[in-house]
Amino acid sequence: MRQHIVSVRTNVTIFLILQLLLVATVALAYVPLGKMHLTTSLTIAVAKAVLIVLYFMHIRWSRKLNWVFASASLVWFALLLALTMSDYLTRDWLPIPGK
């Protein structure tokens, strides 16, 4: 049997925080942030995701192994993104055409 049962209060609190973060994300999108738009919206999205994963998906009270699986998948996605973009972001650094 699962050891931990989430209280109604916890569930509702997290839910309300998530909705607040949603409002924040939309509001900030209309504020002129210049280059910081992507960073801001992604930071809020990550915060929301972390809350959902920790609380709704129970990671906070689960076996360490589940946490490892969850983190590993994110790390792997980051790897795919980072190494792929490392090609595109370093193009035209040399005066050789196509390199």
Binding site: L79, L80, L83, T84, D87, T90, W93, K99
Partner: protein
């Protein structure tokens, strides 16, 4: 044991517990599923082999004379690649031997998700059927790598169905990978700690990490290819804002680790065979275990080494080059450890050992040439030549296929309860080894001299080496057909095998051959580590056998 007693004991093994077709097609027994996979992949192996045969026949002469057009050759090498990679090599050891042995090795009654296991076989068969359909209706000509923009814009063949067949089969891999990972975590017998696991399990666990994390990206790359081909959106068309290299990044993100999917299980098999036939515990167990994980992880960092000349940035290429050097290290560690295991061992050159030793030598050559290719300065010259073809065949055929054959022979008595004829086994292993070298070593030279790959015509100066290669291929073919014959025959006329004909350690040898449906009469409790071999114990065992 009297014949009657033997019969009674064998009454309730997993093969004879039920005979109906339904009991096979709806089985959730990992052992039966392993056998079903074995039949399926053998079928595809011979289809891929047929394509190779036609290619090598064509390449005996510099002109294109056997095939009616260059297009036909393009279709042949594409189907050879797709069938061999996706329908034979990738499933081979994990889906056949992994499925069969993993629960036995950890002392479990089945894998974690037996129904998903059956589903994975059905998904594989559906993907295979679609691939057969494509094959019958002319195949495709893009190469197994489906490079854009040719595949997305210019090819006139059935690219979308071919991509679909690979997409579908990918889910079979994903399910197998999930099953193996979860099983290893949660279903080990009491006392079976991680560092008491056979290295076969470590190797398959590492392979499954790649299955789970890499295959979905291949699926997306093929889905994007299909969308591009059907809707002409410009994802991979520079004139419309797209980028063909994006396809390559997504494709190789999976396909490079995929080659480790093909070789890690082979290494896992070798790690089981070598200690048994050297009668010594494996040297550096923890190093081999951790190296397996390291290979799986590092394999994801290096995919750009397939793209040095594709238009990738120079700096991107440098990063990938350095990381590719790194991934060779754990493989090297394994080779050293196997060799050290042999040192002062009581070596018996039975068939599985011949295959395992062949693996070690051929994989080393393949791996070293891999280091050469990781060096950008060399790769820009030999990319898309036969040097590459030789490199990967040394690993795929000299490595993975030999390990698969070794594993099949080693565990044949366990799976079927019969022994194969040892002389035939040794003969086939020898034929494969000789045939392999004759086929592929000349290809290193050909590539270095500049013969391009995927060409059906070549300069007459390359003919001698090509003829050697084709001659080797014919010997190799005999080496592969023979086991098909004698292994099948052994089912009827082979001597009945006991539970442990090799006197090997490992839980799978503590149960009957073939095992009962639920694997063990009593859940084993593990108190010792794996590979508790010693030459003295062997002497005793051999003397005991003679009684």
């Amino acid at each position: 044991m009297s014949l009657l007693q033997e019969e009674r004991v064998r009454e309730r093994d997993y093969l004879t517990s039920e005979y109906t077709l339904k009991s096979w097609l709806l089985t959730t027994d990992h052992k039966r599923i392993g056998l079903m996979y074995m039949v399926s992949i053998t079928f595809f192996f011979f289809i891929g082999g047929a394509a190779a045969t036609l290619m090598r026949l064509e390449l005996m002469t510099p002109k294109g004379d056997i095939l009616h057009s260059p297009d036909a050759y393009n279709r042949l090498f594409t189907m050879h690649g797709i069938v061999m990679v996706f329908f034979f090599l990738i499933p081979s050891i994990p889906a056949v031997l992994g499925n069969f042995l993993l629960p036995l090795m950890i002392g479990a009654r089945d894998l974690a998700f037996p129904r998903l296991n059956l589903l994975s076989w059905y998904i594989y068969m559906i993907g295979g059927l679609v691939a057969l359909f494509v094959l019958i209706f002319g195949g495709i000509d893009t190469g197994w790598t489906f490079y854009t923009p040719f595949s997305s814009m210019f090819s006139n063949t059935m690219v979308v169905p071919a991509a679909a067949s690979v997409f579908i089969t990918g889910f079979s891999s994903i399910l197998t990978g999930m099953n193996i990972i979860v099983t290893t975590h949660t279903m080990r017998a009491p006392g079976m700690t991680w560092f008491r696991l056979p290295l076969f399990v470590w190797g398959h666990y590492a392979t499954s990490l790649i299955f789970v994390l890499g295959t979905p990206v291949l699926a997306i790359s093929l889905a994007l290819l299909a969308a591009e081909r059907l809707l002409h959106l410009g994802i991979f068309d520079p004139a419309l804002g797209g980028d063909p290299i994006l396809f390559q990044h997504l494709f190789w993100f999976y396909s490079h680790p995929a080659v480790y999917i093909m070789v890690l299980p082979g290494m896992a098999v070798v790690s089981e065979i070598v200690p048994c036939f050297a009668r010594r515990p494996i040297f550096g167990y923890k190093f081999i275990a951790i190296s397996s994980l390291a290979i799986a992880v590092l394999s994801f960092f290096v995919w750009g080494h397939h793209m040095f000349v594709s238009g990738q940035s120079m700096y991107g290429g440098m990063i990938f080059s350095i990381l590719s050097f790194l991934v060779a290290i754990p493989s090297g560690i394994k080779v050293f450890n196997w060799t050290a295991t042999l040192y002062k061992g009581s070596i018996r050159l039975d068939t599985p050992m011949l295959y395992a030793l062949g693996f070690i030598g051929l994989f080393t050559i393949g791996g070293l040439t891999g280091l050469m290719l990781a060096t950008m300065a060399i790769d820009v010259h030999v990319h898309d030549t036969y040097f590459i073809v030789a490199h990967f065949h040394y690993i795929m055929v000299g490595g993975a296929v030999m390990a698969y054959m070794g594993g099949i022979h080693f565990w044949w008595p366990k799976m079927t309860g019969r022994m194969y004829p040892e002389m035939m086994g040794k003969l086939s292993a020898l034929l494969v080894f000789i045939g392999f070298h004759l086929t592929f070593f000349p290809q290193f030279i050909l590539g270095y001299l500049g013969m391009p790959r995927r060409y059906f015509e070549y300069d007459p100066e390359f003919q001698v080496l090509n003829v050697m290669s084709t001659a080797g291929a014919s010997i190799l073919a005999v080496g592969y057909v023979l086991p098909l014959v004698y292994l099948l025959l052994s089912l009827k006329i082979g001597p009945i095998a006991g539970p442990n004909p090799w006197n090997a350690t490992g839980l799978e040898w503590q149960t009957s051959s073939p095992p009962p449906p639920h694997n063990f009469d009593e859940t084993p409790v593990v108190t010792v580590g794996p590979y508790a071999y010693s030459p003295e114990a062997t002497e005793e065992a051999i003397n005991h056998e003679r009684d």
